[in-house]
Subunit: 406 residues, 2 copies
Amino acid sequence: MKKYILVLISFLIVCFETFAQESLWEGQKIISPEVHSDNTVTFRLEAPKAESVQVKGDFLPDKINSGIADMTKSKNGLWEFTTEPLDPEFYSYSFLVDGLKINDPNNVFLNRDITSLHNVFLIGGGRADLYKVNNVPHGSVIRCWYSSPTLQMTRRLVIYTPPSYESSNADYPVLYLLHGMGGDEETWTERGRMAQIMDNLIAQGKAKPMIVVMPNGNASQEAAPGESSLGFYKPETKLPKIDAKTVFSDMNEAKKLLPLLKESNQIIKSFPDIVNFIDQRFRTKKEKSGRAIAGLSMGGFQSMYISKEYPDMFDYVGLFSAAAFAPNVNVPPFDNVTEKLKVQFDKKPALYWMAVGKEDFLYKMNENYRRKLDENGYKYTYFETGEGHIWKNWRIYLTEFVPLLF
Amino acid sequence: MKKYILVLISFLIVCFETFAQESLWEGQKIISPEVHSDNTVTFRLEAPKAESVQVKGDFLPDKINSGIADMTKSKNGLWEFTTEPLDPEFYSYSFLVDGLKINDPNNVFLNRDITSLHNVFLIGGGRADLYKVNNVPHGSVIRCWYSSPTLQMTRRLVIYTPPSYESSNADYPVLYLLHGMGGDEETWTERGRMAQIMDNLIAQGKAKPMIVVMPNGNASQEAAPGESSLGFYKPETKLPKIDAKTVFSDMNEAKKLLPLLKESNQIIKSFPDIVNFIDQRFRTKKEKSGRAIAGLSMGGFQSMYISKEYPDMFDYVGLFSAAAFAPNVNVPPFDNVTEKLKVQFDKKPALYWMAVGKEDFLYKMNENYRRKLDENGYKYTYFETGEGHIWKNWRIYLTEFVPLLF
């Protein structure tokens, strides 16, 4: 012990000054958010000069001022707010300081939501335990690039391989998992807790070990913002400003949306490039029975068309809050929808799974699509939740869909 | 074209409402930071109620109020500040709004620095072009977990494989790259721009294709904050509060540092677990001539001791601003330092490389260590820069060290 202390005296000189420079001492000793044992949560911010501090979060019911709650100033300029007991969930929030939206400086954990960042925290229990890093075998998450001959681009994707992959020689089935509009290849791992959900479901024996592939569903993008040769640009919607009142009467307004549809078209056309890359790089099951495709919102739209366009490629299809519409036009791959759908269902997919929330603005569209499937006697499985077009639902759908695969 | 527009009308209904819910319209149309063609940079923040807004960044010379510059309020409550022309570099900054430190809400790109987050931006040109994502072949970055029998833990690490790895059957040399105190397995990819530097140096033919392995150098940690079963806890320094004035006279104060030294001891002792894992999982060159180890600050200290403790394991050693001290005590692995160093150098390492900045508080310690090497006629290569114990230097050292390997 004494010898250690001799070492420490020299070590100290190093440590003490290093800390000063590496900001180890920086940061207030404030804990925010603090999750209490009864699942109430306290948020704190030290802002003595602020006149108003609010917390804005997806755990706040609409009745409290549309998801915004006033925080209370105590002595020393510390503002606080404590929630009601919250259900288990992966939540996000921001602060409003005199109207300026900021992140919680005492919480380094953030999720990007297209153009903005939100702090996150997790309340465990029930299904939300699947979203936690637990003491179970962990898969690997790989960021790599593939070459798309169709798009003539090199593009980034994120791949999950299950814990057993490295220690076995087996071929694995593959789930292709697509994001929604404004998302990218990082979205399912970041907001969707994909790796944690897969690790936990596999550990519980509820899901078969599988590879999960998350491509970038925006055909004009090489990679997520900050990860491409465009550098650190400001992410923006690609949707041009549209006059919602005239867009249905004014073709010039409607035309502004053309690039969006063309992008999905490109993703559908180039999708075999991704499958070929994955089949070359990984030990995969290369037949239809070993492949699934699923996506949320725009990714659901893409999954619907990709699985229809290549009816021998995917045996399992998941449409999560999908933009499930079937235009009656003759532009490939949107042509001959009825015929193509018949071909797909004549081949009897192992699973055609649809899920949507009761309050989703796409609920009606999904209902219409289900009716069309019913009329033709096409078999599908339907799963309905409460609430709407939100990540809470898409995490639920993933945990429900994955155990049904392979 | 007309057919597309018909599709768009239905598509629009989907898009327009989706955007509202996925916050695609959120965020002000303010660009911050804006890098101008002359490499001046303008920062902007809309905060009409604030009395004072400042920018704090590592690009501001000390003469401007210790790295803090006042921003100027213009009409509409928009605050602005424009820098002098800046040298090419990967910079970081925050805002101070009435003294409250916040991140720039118009910049979604952040780096974590232990307990806090800072916005980042990059000015290209010169060496900083190595820090950019360029149109060159990209390697893969893998987050995975290994089992350490010595530590009796499963631990996370980050691995870079070069672009050619997947298309070849060759065995690759491996660089083990260690972070400093307060860092973790994410630090070299996040703040060190490791993947970009490797991609670019390999594409230019200046570095041999190699695997780079970045373990977590804190023996008690499973993984980086937020990535372990501890959940989203607040990262803190493990260094207890120490009275700098009495620590040299008061053994009770010095003892508080014991856990830190023991942690590095554990990393040194368990390091073969990592090498064994890598050699099993990847196609590696398994002899000394195919292995390098380097680290910054505490990671330099660890590299120095690991390479000395296992003199047949690493042929290339890099000490970046290392805590290069050699205590004269008999606690393994800090015992018999002189003898072990002799064994290491008798085996003539292919490269023993040291780098430090002139203003580094460890400069003197490195000078003393070099003198000791000189006295014994031990061959090493020395590289000196300006400035001190900062990431700018560690990125430079990586770009200088890697071309000398293998």
